[in-house]
C-alpha cells in the first residue's frame, strides 16, 4: 500500500478509529495486524521475510539478555547479523556482486556460470533489516533490554507508518512508546494531520510533478522492472535544471513520505524521529548530512563510524572513516555502482571540507566577508545545494555510463525551452503549465521551509500549531486547496520504496 492512494485514505481513518475505539490492551494486536496488512498489500508472500527477521532477532536478543558478558553474547549477535545481512544480501545485493564477478571473470576469459536470482526486491528491506540490526546491537551492547513480549517486538519491527521507507527507529525510542497508553488528544491529532497534509503537498503536488521533467532527461522505470533509457537529447542548462528539479523531487518524495509517516504515528501518540530538517538550507556539506536522512546518518554513525574509531583517530584515518561510511551509506541505497558513486562523491566532499577546515581555516567566506552574513549565507546554501546535485546525477541515472553522458551533455547545446514545453507532450496538460505550477509550489515550499529553518527547524506540525487562529486556518485552507487542485494524479510510488 502506498500513502498516495485511495486505499490508504480508507486505511488510515479506519486504523485510527479502531485504535482509539478498542481497549488499550488490544491496541498492539490491531497495529500488528494493520502493519502486516499494510505490507502484504504489496506482495503478501514477502511478509515471511519480516517474520523471519523478527523471529531470529527476538530469539537472539532474548538469548543475549541471559548472558552477562559480551563475549558470551557475541555468537547470538553474529546469528542476528548474518541472518539480517544475509537476507539483505540475498534479495538486494546478490545479483550485483554476481554481475560484477561475471564482468571480472569475463575480462580474463574465465568461464563463470553462477545464475542470477530472479527475485523481486522486497519493499523496504533495507529499512526494516537496519531497524532489526540496531535492536540486536543495542541489546548486545547492553544499551537496551530485550523485549520479552513477541507481539510488541514484532510490532516494533513492522510498525506500519515507517515500515517501508523509514524513519529507521531505534529500539530505545520507539519500543517504549508502543507500550504506552495514549488517549485521544485533540492537539496531538491536529498536529499529526498538519504533518500529513504537508507531506501530501510535498509528494503529490511537487515531487510527482517534477518527475515529468526529470524523466525527460534521465529516463525512467518502465514499470515492469525495466528501464527506458534517456534519449540524451537534452543539453546545456536543461540538464542542470532537471538535476536541480530532481534534487527537490527526491527531497519532497522522501520527505513527504516521512511527514505522512510521522503524522500518522503522531495521531496515535507515537513520536517518530524527524528524518529531514530543511536540508537545502545547509551551509556546509557536513551540516547537510545532519539534516538529510537523519536516521540513516545516525545509524551509520553509531554502528559503523564510531566502531571504526570515529573522530578519535589520526587525521588520515578520520578522513578514511568519513569517506568509507559515506560510501557504505550510498551502497545502502541500492545494488548499483551509481549508488556507490553517490556515496563516494559525498564522502569525497566531506573529506575535502575537513581538509579545508584543517589547512585553510581562515579561507572561508564567513571570515573573508564578516559583515555580509546574509549574502554569504545565501551563497553558501546555493553552493551546497549545487554540490549535492553532483552525486544526485549518479543517484538518478540508471548506470554510471549514463551519468557520465548526462554530465557531458551539460556542455552541449541548451534545450531548456524544449524541456519546459515538451516534457509532457503526450500528457493532457502542456508541460509549460505544469512547469510554472511546479515553480510556484517550489516557491511556497521554500517559503515554508525557510520559516521552519529560522525556527530552529522545528516540525511543520509544531510550528503551525503554535500560530494564532487566522494563521493556522490560512495554512489549512491554502495547503488543502493546493493539494486538492494540483495533486498530480498519475500513479507513482515513492522513490525510497526501492531501497
Amino acid at each position: 500500500m502506498i500513502f498516495n492512494s485511495l486505499h490508504f485514505l480508507i486505511f488510515l481513518p479506519a486504523v485510527i478509529f479502531l485504535y482509539f475505539a478498542i481497549p488499550y490492551k488490544w491496541r498492539w494486536l490491531l497495529l500488528l495486524f494493520a502493519s502486516y496488512y499494510f505490507y502484504m498489500c504489496w506482495k503478501a508472500e514477502y511478509a515471511f521475510l519480516i517474520v523471519f527477521s523478527t523471529t531470529i532477532d527476538y530469539y537472539t536478543a532474548n538469548k543475549m539478555s541471559r548472558v552477562k558478558d559480551k563475549k558470551g553474547r557475541l555468537p547470538y549477535l553474529m546469528i542476528s547479523l548474518i541472518s539480517n545481512l544475509g537476507l539483505l544480501f540475498s534479495f538486494k545485493y546478490f545479483n550485483f556482486f554476481n554481475d560484477s564477478a561475471r564482468a571480472v571473470f569475463d575480462s580474463f576469459d574465465i568461464f563463470y556460470n553462477v545464475p542470477e536470482f530472479s527475485l523481486f526486491l522486497p519493499v523496504g528491506i533495507s529499512f526494516y533489516t537496519f531497524q532489526a540490526l540496531s535492536y540486536s546491537i543495542d541489546v548486545y551492547r547492553g544499551d537496551f533490554k530485550a523485549e520479552k513480549n513477541f507481539g510488541y517486538f514484532a510490532l516494533f519491527i513492522s510498525y506500519w507508518p515507517q515500515l517501508v521507507a523509514g524513519p529507521i527507529e531505534r529500539p530505545g525510542d520507539l519500543q517504549p512508546q508502543l507500550k504506552q497508553n495514549f488517549d485521544f488528544d485533540y492537539n496531538r491529532v491536529k498536529q499529526g494531520l498538519i504533518r500529513i497534509l504537508y507531506g501530501f503537498f510535498k509528494k503529490v503536488v511537487i515531487a510527482d510533478r517534477l518527475g515529468l521533467f526529470v524523466q525527460e532527461v534521465y529516463g525512467q522505470n518502465d514499470g515492469h522492472g525495466g528501464w527506458i533509457d534517456p534519449s540524451f537529447a537534452h543539453g546545456g542548462f536543461a540538464v542542470v535544471l532537471a538535476t536541480w528539479l530532481f534534487a527537490i523531487q527526491v527531497y519532497c518524495d522522501f520527505g513527504g513520505y516521512c511527514d505522512i509517516a510521522i503524522g500518522s504515528a503522531k495521531i496515535m501518540g507515537h513520536n517518530l524521529t524527524d528524518n529531514f530538517k530543511t536540508p537545502y538550507f545547509s551551509k556546509s556539506i557536513r551540516e547537510f548530512w545532519e539534516r538529510w536522512h537523519i536516521t540513516l546518518t545516525v545509524w551509520v554513525r553509531d554502528y559503523l563510524y564510531i566502531p571504526l574509531g570515529g573522530s578519535r583517530v589520526s587525521f588520515g584515518r578520520l578522513l578514511f572513516n568519513n569517506w568509507f561510511t559515506l560510501t557504505i551509506m550510498g551502497f545502502w541505497h541500492g545494488a548499483n555502482w551509481t549508488y556507490v558513486m553517490f556515496g563516494f562523491i559525498h564522502g569525497f566532499f566531506i573529506v575535502m571540507s575537513r581538509v579545508w577546515d584543517r589547512y585553510l581555516p581562515n579561507l572561508t567566506l564567513n571570515k573573508m566577508l564578516p559583515n555580509m552574513k546574509v549574502f554569504v549565507g545565501v551563497v553558501l546554501m546555493f553552493w551546497i545545494f549545487n554540490l549535492t546535485c553532483i552525486p544526485d546525477i549518479f543517484f538518478r541515472s540508471n548506470s554510471v555510463g549514463d551519468a557520465w553522458n548526462i554530465i557531458q551533455s551539460i556542455f552541449s547545446a541548451d534545450t531548456t525551452s524544449y524541456l519546459i514545453h515538451n516534457s509532457a507532450a503526450k500528457g493532457a496538460v502542456p508541460s509549460v503549465i505544469e512547469f510554472w505550477v511546479s515553480i510556484a509550489c517550489i516557491a511556497l515550499l521554500l517559503f515554508t521551509d525557510y520559516k521552519l529553518y529560522t525556527n530552529k527547524s522545528v516540525g511543520i506540525d509544531v510550528f503551525v500549531a503554535s500560530k494564532p487562529f487566522y494563521a493556522r486556518w490560512s495554512f489549512y485552507v491554502v495547503f488543502l486547496v493546493i493539494v486538492t487542485l494540483f495533486a498530480y494524479t498519475s500513479k507513482s510510488v515513492f522513490i525510497y520504496f526501492a531501497f
Binding site: K190, I433, V437, T484, A487
Partner: protein, 376 residues
Amino acid sequence: MKKLFIRIGILILVVYAICQVVLMTMPFSWGNTRLNTKFDAYKENHEQYNTLLIGASTTYRHINPRAFDSIVNAQHPELNIKSFNFGIPANRTPQSMQMLYNLLKFDDTNIKYVVIDMSELTKMGADNLHKKEMLYWYNWSNIGDVMKASYESEKGINKFGVPILHAFSFGEKSLLFGNGPSVFMQHAGLNTEPLSVGPDKNGFYSLDQEMRDDPEGDLAARYSDLRTQDTIDYRTMRCKRLVEKYKDASKNPNKTMEDNLIDIINQCEKNNISVVIMLSQRLGERYEYLIPLFNQLPEKNRIGFQDPDAYPLLNLRENLFDLAHLNEDGAKIFTGIFADEWLHRLEMQDVIKPLPAPTVESDTLNLNPRTDGGNQ
C-alpha cells in the same frame, strides 16, 4: 473527538466552496481536448450541420462525414445531409447523452438527425478517475442514473465497486481534484488538440492519418503489435460466440439505461429529430450487457454491427488497424455500410420513402453481405 470532526467538516466545506467558485468562474469545458477542438470547429459553421454522429472511437475513426454525406445525398438529395463527427476515444453512453444535451442546448434549430454509438454504459475503471472529462459530464442527475444503472447491471459489472468509483469520481469532480492545471488551460484557451478534428475539419480522423501525423506515437506500436491474424481470429471467434449466446436475450438487463435511451429517442422525436442508436463491432467485452439492452430498443432506432458473420469485411485483417478499430480502407467500407443501414432506419421511421431500386453505383454498398438486417 467531536471538536475535531466539526473542524474537519468546516474545513472541507470551506475548501469545497472555494473549489466551486473556481469551477463556476471557469469557462465551459468539454473536458476533453479533442472534443473542445471539435466543438470549436463545429461552432464556426454550426448552421450548416444537420446531423450529429456521437460516440466513442468506433464513431470517431470509422465514419467519415464527407463520404457519408455524399453517399446519402446521392440516394436522397432531399435530405441534404451535412454531418459532423463528434466521436471521441473511450466515450461512454452517459457521456454521449450529456454531449447531445449540450450540443442541442447550443443550437437545436438545424439538427434533424442524431446517431449515438452505444458503448459500455456504466463501466468506469480506476484509470478514468481524475480525468478532465469528469468536469462536464457529471452532474447530480447523471451521477444518480449512472449509479443506479451500475447497480442494476446483472453481469459484467461490479455492482458495488463501480458505483463507489463513480461516487469518488463525482466527489473528485466537485473538488476539481488534480484539475488545477486544466483550469488554467481552460482560462488560457489551451484545452485543444488541433489535429484531432481531422483534415476535413469534420471530426473524422482516421487512425492511419493520426499515425502519419505522429509516426513516433503509440499508434505505430498498436498497429504492428495488435494486428496479427491469430489475435484477429481469436477476437472474431469470441465475438461470434457471445453474439450467438446473447442474440435472443430479451430480458431487460438495465431499466435505467433503457429508460434513458428511450427517453432520448422520444424527446428528440418530439422535436422532429430522428435518433438512431448504433452498436459498433467491439472486442466482445460487455456484449452480455450491451446486446440484451440493444434488443430492447425499437428496431427502427437501432443499427447493430456486433455480428462478425453479418459483416465479414469489417473483420478482415487488411481492413483493421488494431483489434477494435478499422483502418482507412475499413472505415471507407464501414461508412458505406453504415449509410445504407441508416437510410433503411429512416425509411422505417417514415422520414424517407423507400427508393424503387438502388440508384447509387458505389461499390461499397454492394460490399455489404448483410442478410438479416444486422440486428440481433
